[in-house]
């Protein structure tokens, strides 16, 4: 169990010397307890303190890196069962299964070029999973050359070896067939120093397999949970996470791997919400990716750090100089809600998103981050004021109080119109207030 701020404080010298960069030993202790600082910063920490803190802080789930270069992905290092206890830390990798195909180069190129931006995050194809076939060494090489991390979905030790040897410098993940005898695969992984997936028919067998692989010299292990259906997978995924966090068996302290066949969308949803770290997904219709990436974004957001939009003027529909100009904060949820409602009204408009450090409208205003002068400055910087010929800015109803100061700060004859409190009232607002005023 991690130590509390007070417990850590009692291990420190309590001289408030400030050499760690904090004003008091207690302030430093609270950061240490939260895992946000390292004891190394205190030049006067006793050996007892180092020992106590060291023991309490080794992560229950190891980190494993797959691939090399800029697209290498590290998974694991999780510390909680519920995201609200703190946060989930390492986004699971969503690998795409690549079957042999004549246009494999074009396909890989299009995957590499795939980039979707959402709320400040870029969705990409994280890696490629290659099922064993005579073509797999070539496919694996083609994928690895393009920088993709590769997972080898092996069927036989020889086939696995052929592919793994070919791309061994790219640190591929070796995935034996489910239920296979791990011996040969473990030796291969140990020899090539690549990560290995182990499996077992039940939790006991799984944990044992992990220990065996470790003994065989494999440094990085992922666990493939047993299960035949959603119920079974839910059980094993939950049990593995709980077992790892409670340190019940060292064989459970590894990230989790899941195979998703075509049509197994629900299993993928379960995997993303329930602790899988790497999913190899077969998706024929292509419709699974966006919802899965978005789900991952949602679940893996730090509950304490709101997602922020890039400040700027966003167009809803095709607005022109007479279209309304609305202002809001860069809290992504606010943006999504407001922009969705605006689109539903059918009226093209400009939505100026102001940097309020990701806070919602009311919170930002209370913290002084949505005051008249700040908003005016932001609108001028992003040249929102130049986009419209009328000089009216519409602000959210909850911050009607800033209308006066915003008008003053904008100057130049600008008027501020107070919009509705709820985004869902934007339609009636346009109809009853904006249109008649035009």
């Amino acid at each position: 169990m991690p130590l509390t701020g007070l417990q850590v404080f009692k291990l420190l010298p309590n001289t408030n010397c400030r050499e760690c960069g904090y004003p008091t030993c207690l302030a430093f202790a609270m950061k240490l307890a939260a895992g946000k600082e390292s004891l190394a910063k205190c030049p006067y920490a006793s050996p007892e303190a180092c020992a106590a803190l060291g023991a309490a802080s080794a992560p229950p789930i190891r980190g494993v890196t797959i691939g090399r270069g800029p697209r290498a992905i590290t998974v694991g290092e999780e510390t909680v069962f519920f995201r609200h206890e703190k946060t989930f830390v390492r986004r699971p990798g969503l690998f795409r299964v690549l079957n042999p195909a004549p246009d494999r180069d074009a396909l890989l190129d299009s995957w590499r070029g795939l980039r979707l931006e959402r709320a400040g995050e870029v969705f990409q194809v994280d890696g490629v999973a290659i099922p064993e076939s005579p073509a797999s060494p070539g496919l694996a090489a083609a994928a690895a050359e393009r920088g993709f991390p590769v997972a080898i979905l092996a069927a036989t030790p020889d086939g696995a070896s052929a592919t793994a040897e070919r791309i061994k410098d790219h640190r591929p993940l070796l995935v034996p067939p489910p239920g296979a005898d791990l011996g040969a695969y473990a030796s291969l992984a140990a020899r090539l120093k690549i990560p290995l997936v182990v499996s077992g028919s039940d939790l006991n067998a799984l944990a044992t397999a992990a220990m065996d692989a470790t003994r065989a010299g494999v440094a990085d292990i992922l666990l493939e949970p047993p299960g035949a259906d959603l119920r079974g997978f839910h059980h094993s995924l939950s049990a593995i996470r709980r077992g790892a966090l409670d340190r019940i068996h060292p064989g459970l302290g590894h990230p989790v791997f899941l195979r998703i066949a075509a049509g197994e969308f629900e299993k993928a949803v379960l995997g993303i919400t329930k602790f899988a770290s790497l999913l190899a997904i077969e998706d024929h219709c292509g419709e699974a990716w966006l919802p899965l990436w978005t789900l991952r974004q949602n679940i893996y957001t730090d509950p304490q750090k709101p997602l922020q939009m890039q400040p700027g003027v966003y167009s809803i529909g095709e607005p022109n100089a007479t279209s309304p100009l609305l202002v809001t904060t860069n809290f992504s949820l606010t943006y999504f809600i407001v922009s969705t409602e605006l689109e539903a009204t059918g009226l093209a408009c400009h939505l100026a998103v102001v940097d309020a450090e990701g806070l919602s409208v009311l919170t930002a205003w209370s913290a002084g981050k949505f005051a008249g002068d700040r908003v005016a400055k932001a609108l001028r910087t992003m040249q929102a004021t130049e986009r419209v010929s009328h000089r009216t800015a519409i602000i959210p109803g909850y911050v009607s109080v800033i209308s006066g100061e915003l008008e003053d700060a904008l100057g130049d004859g600008w008027r501020v119109l107070v919009g509705p409190q709820e985004a869902s009232d934007l339609g009636p607002f346009f109809r009853d207030v904006w249109q008649p005023a035009q």
Partner: protein, 312 residues
């Protein structure tokens, strides 16, 4: 070294709430004494129930993908309800009185009550009735519906902290279930239940609606508040252990991303994630989402799908 995973035991459990009485086939939800879907260590006498949403008037904002299965019955509540239950297999139905909103038709409380009566006459399953949104119109509409359909055990959606007294009174007087809605805040959910209990509402006839954020549009907030409510309930908090209801369809189909395609996956992902977080009643719009979820629930709670097919 062998593995010993102790099952987790909790001092509390989720209340059981029965929807539908009188001429309805009753449907009970809740009763679980463990974390959602943790059938390996807890017992769940009832599984989550899946509802389909129908509307009193043709819904202007439903996109093509979700309108298509309802072709011919949009805005015809009795016919839509029949299709929902007989063809699509919904466990229950939610009638959304969109047309009673002052800006969307301003239909009267009498019209609303007639629509509800038509649905009740058309299908035997329990009915959730959703009003036009908190305020005097909703109070009038739901009060009238409650009175005219007394004894049917309707679920009235919804009471909130600012507006609960009228609905509390009619729910108690006419034998209905009250949905208590809070804005993704566990404290407010609890406060509302306390206020309802103080107003003589029996919490065994209430559901909690924590306010659903769709996938990509606030899902994680709802997800975490539901996990926390579930934990409080299992920890013994009797003011937070009502079963939770999520209006998934309404939220999921608002997403920009589904305008062209992918809507069913979007709705499915939202619904499944919220089942894992503790949803006991889910209101969907697309029958395919419902069918797929039914298969998964059959699997999770029974072991095999109907017909013995292996589940995915």
């Amino acid at each position: 070294m062998s593995l010993e995973l102790k099952p987790k035991r909790w001092p509390g459990a989720i209340r059981t709430v029965t929807l539908g009485s009188g001429s309805r086939r009753p449907l009970t939800v809740g009763g679980g004494n463990g974390l959602p879907l943790h059938t390996f260590e807890a017992s769940f006498p009832h599984r989550p129930a899946l509802a389909l949403e129908i509307t009193d008037v043709a819904p202007p904002r439903w996109i093509d993908t979700v309108r298509q299965p309802w072709n011919g019955v949009l805005g015809q509540p009795a016919a839509a309800a029949l299709r929902a239950v007989d063809e699509f297999g919904a466990d229950l139905v939610m009638l959304h009185l969109v047309g009673t909103h002052p800006d969307r038709g301003n239909r009267s409380p009498q019209d609303a009550a007639a629509d509800v009566r038509a649905v009740l006459d058309s299908v035997p399953v329990p009915l959730i009735v959703k009003g036009p949104g908190a305020g005097p119109k909703q109070n009038d509409v739901l009060a009238r519906v409650a009175e005219e359909c007394q004894g049917e055990g309707l679920a009235l959606h919804s009471a909130c902290q600012e507006e609960y007294k009228t609905l509390a009174a009619v729910a108690v007087a006419y034998g209905h279930v009250l949905v208590a809605e809070s804005p993704i805040d566990m404290n407010i959910a609890k406060q509302l239940n306390i206020l309802l209990a103080d107003a003589s509402v029996d919490l065994r006839h209430t559901l909690i609606d924590p306010l659903t954020g769709g996938l990509g549009y606030g899902l994680e907030y709802t997800y975490s508040v539901m996990e926390r409510i579930r934990l409080a309930a299992l920890g013994g908090d009797a003011m937070l252990n009502s079963p939770m209801i999520c209006l998934v369809g309404e939220e999921a189909w608002k997403a920009k991303e589904v305008k062209v395609s992918g809507g069913v996956h979007w709705e499915l992902a939202t619904a499944l994630a919220l089942i894992e977080a503790g949803a006991e009643v889910l209101v969907l719009r697309h029958p395919e989402s419902l069918a797929r979820l039914h298969r998964q629930l059959d699997c999770c709670f029974v072991g095999t799908a109907p017909g013995g097919d292996p589940c995915r």
